[in-house]
């Protein structure tokens, strides 16, 4: 557990507060937020751009591609499916490869330290 402590702990601090202050946890938290928050902003903006276009730019969304019956709006809509699948895969890969090992290491240290 010694590697979790940084400076001298203030009196009355709990085990969890000590972990929370540690560099390992702060790094984990930063990594999580740096991935999740921008990704959330990205898909929400992309979704509302799409909804606003479908709601207020009918002419643009109704453009046909060549002589086909496929419209720009249909492609944008299918694009929402693609982006959802892609973000899902990106997050799962990032979490499996980068996040889990660090979180598990911290969890083991905490649970063993509590014994």
């Amino acid at each position: 557990m010694s590697d979790l402590s940084t400076a001298g702990p203030p009196p009355g601090e709990t085990e969890y507060q000590r972990v929370q202050r540690s560099d390992e946890f702060q790094g984990l938290r930063r990594a999580f937020r740096n991935f999740v928050f921008p990704m959330t902003a990205l898909f929400l903006v992309w979704y509302f751009v799409y909804v606003l276009l479908a709601n207020y730019a009918h002419d643009f969304m109704s453009i046909r591609l060549g002589d086909s019956n496929i419209t720009v709006g249909l492609l944008f809509g299918l694009g929402q499916f693609v982006s959802t699948f892609v973000i899902t895969m990106l997050y799962a890969r990032w979490a499996n490869k980068k996040f889990d090992a660090r979180a598990d290491a911290l969890r083991r240290e905490i649970e063993e330290g509590e014994l």
Binding site: Y16, F25, T84
Partner: protein, 550 residues
């Protein structure tokens, strides 16, 4: 989500189906549905042998794998009319029907990125577990439980009322007494499933139903595409042609919602409620506790997103396919109107047998969704209100589960009576309301309590009650309740709020009140509790373990 589509897109609620269907053979439909009930009952009884603890009853022993739970989530989420309703909406309104499915799908990214894993790591059985982690238990649990019960009640009532209409459409039962009887049978079956099987049995019903629904939709999709040489453009062309003059509008947005500025704002409001509501739906949140770890919760959502996404892509083909092969006139004239598009398409493709299969799946769907809602409400009442608010946590797990079982019976009876009374009433707006309440009352408090250190009890109460009350008040004052002939009370006239969905106002209000309430309170912060919550939520330390397999 059933009702949103049926109600707002087509203006024809499920319950309007008052005449018997004249296609297909009702006995085939009943036979296939009976086989489903029999098979699932056997599985539920087998699953129930290990139902001992509260964790068994509420969370299936936390022993489901990610893929199993992901399939069950899809089974819980894809309600009867999200199948029938979206297909019909696309068949009649084209592109605007497609818009719905996108909101329902993208919403899952909120659950994946912000909610599922952190909730699994910090909670036990209900949403209130997470909120009461660092806020004052009793008031917050009470508020969260009330929000949960209301959302579940709205959703449940819409499902049960829809069952009556579906009967008329699929089984040829057209008398009011006959429909009431079927609602009672559905309710009784649901009580039996949940009482005997608990969360484990409910989950298996949802898994089986999801597999049947997605497989059925897949077969029909390939069939439809084959008829058009696997060319999407030809399929769209077929739908345009079948629609006759003005058919081109099927390919463009705005056929339903582009009427005027108010209807466009209503759609915007709905789009907001859909994308933020899913991650606050109590029956969805509860499913994250049925897996052993946060990693499995993540896998569940990944599976759910793929299954739900692929299913909505199927409905795009099926909707335009119904438009092309059945035609809008035949759909509009059939009993059940817009909801009959998918069954009529099944009949046009594969005759009686395929129609029977699709009808049985639609029924199984109502049963599975209703069971999931009921166990959520039971957990919320028994675990939050009875065990923690009334008994202040001093209660044996046995008696908590006993209360939960009684709650299941009571809710089942309320659902049956409510469903019978709500027949032929326009109650479909209740589902839109459930999504709006989930997004305005539940999501802000969950997000704030997980991510905002300063957040406190007062903020949670302001946000939950503020979101809840504003949603209900705005829907009562909206055109769905009064002021026009499609409203619930057509003769009354108090529709001062012009939008059919309250989300555009109530969701920002829910978030804002959470912040205002937090800053107005003199409650002392609890840095040690926030530290525990934050560390646990990200690392999984001290999270509830799975029940050991016997």
């Amino acid at each position: 989500m059933s009702g949103i589509v049926t109600q707002t897109l087509a203006g024809t609620p499920v319950v309007s189906a008052a005449e018997a269907t004249d296609i297909g053979n009702p006995w085939v439909n009943i036979g296939i549905f009976g086989a489903f009930v029999l098979v699932t009952l056997v599985i539920v009884f087998r699953a129930s042998r290990q139902n001992k603890s509260a964790a068994d009853f509420y969370a299936g022993g936390r022993n489901f794998t990610g893929p199993q739970n992901g399939t069950a989530i899809a089974g819980d989420y894809l309600s009867a009319a999200s199948f029938l309703g979206i297909c019909g909406a696309i068949a009649l309104n084209g592109y605007d029907g497609f818009l719905y499915s996108i909101g329902f799908l993208v919403a899952w990214l909120v659950a994946l990125l912000l909610v599922a894993e952190l909730l699994r790591n910090t909670g036990k059985f209900t949403m209130a577990d997470v909120l009461s982690f660092r806020l004052r238990q009793r008031p917050v649990r009470m508020a969260a439980a009330l929000a949960t019960l209301l959302v579940v009640f709205f959703y449940l009532l819409a499902q049960m009322a829809g069952a009556g209409g579906l009967v008329a459409l699929l089984l040829g039962v057209d008398s009011r007494a006959g429909q009431s009887l079927v609602i009672a049978v559905v309710g009784a079956l649901m009580i039996l499933y949940v009482l005997v099987g608990g969360m484990k049995g409910t989950t298996w019903v949802q898994i089986i139903k999801a597999v049947l629904l997605i497989a059925g939709a897949a077969i029909m999709t390939v069939w439809v595409l084959a008829k058009f040489g696997f060319n999407l453009s030809d399929l769209l062309g077929g739908a345009v042609e079948a629609a006759g003059p003005g058919g081109q509008a099927l390919l463009e947005p705005g056929k339903q919602y582009g009427v005027d500025g108010t209807s466009k704002l209503s759609f915007l409001s709905l789009a907001l409620a859909l994308v933020l509501g899913t991650a606050g739906l109590p029956h969805v949140l509860m499913r994250f506790y049925t897996v052993p770890t946060a990693k499995e919760a993540r896998r569940s959502v990944v599976w759910a997103i793929w299954l739900i996404g692929i299913f909505y892509l199927f409905t795009l083909v099926l909707g335009y396919g119904a438009g092309a092969l059945v035609g809008p006139e035949a759909i509009n004239n059939a009993p059940g109107g817009v909801n009959s598009a998918a069954p009529l398409l099944a009949f046009a493709l594969g005759g009686e047998i395929l129609l029977g299969l699709i009808s049985a799946v639609a029924f199984a769907t109502i049963l599975a969704v209703v069971a999931g809602l009921t166990i959520t409400a039971a957990a919320s009442f028994s675990h939050d209100i009875y065990a923690n608010v009334i008994k202040k946590g001093d209660v044996k797990p046995d008696s908590e589960v006993r209360i939960a079982r009684w709650t299941v019976v009571v809710i089942g009876i309320i659902a049956i009576v409510g469903g019978i009374f709500a027949q032929n009433q326009n109650v479909a707006f209740l589902v839109a309301l459930a999504f709006a309440v989930a997004a305005s009352a539940n999501l802000p408090t969950i997000v704030f309590s997980l991510f905002w250190k300063r957040f406190n009890t007062s903020g949670a109460l302001w946000s939950i009650y503020g979101g809840l009350i504003s949603c209900i008040v705005l829907i009562v004052l909206s055109p769905t309740v009064s002021g026009n002939e499609k409203a619930m009370f057509p003769s009354a006239d108090f529709d001062v709020f012009p939008l059919t969905n309250p989300g555009l106002v109530s969701i920002p209000l829910g978030f804002l009140l959470g912040i205002v309430g937090t800053f107005l309170s003199k409650e002392k912060p609890h840095p040690e509790k926030f530290a525990e919550m934050e560390v646990r939520s990200l690392t999984g330390a001290g999270a509830e373990k799975a029940v050991a397999k016997h």
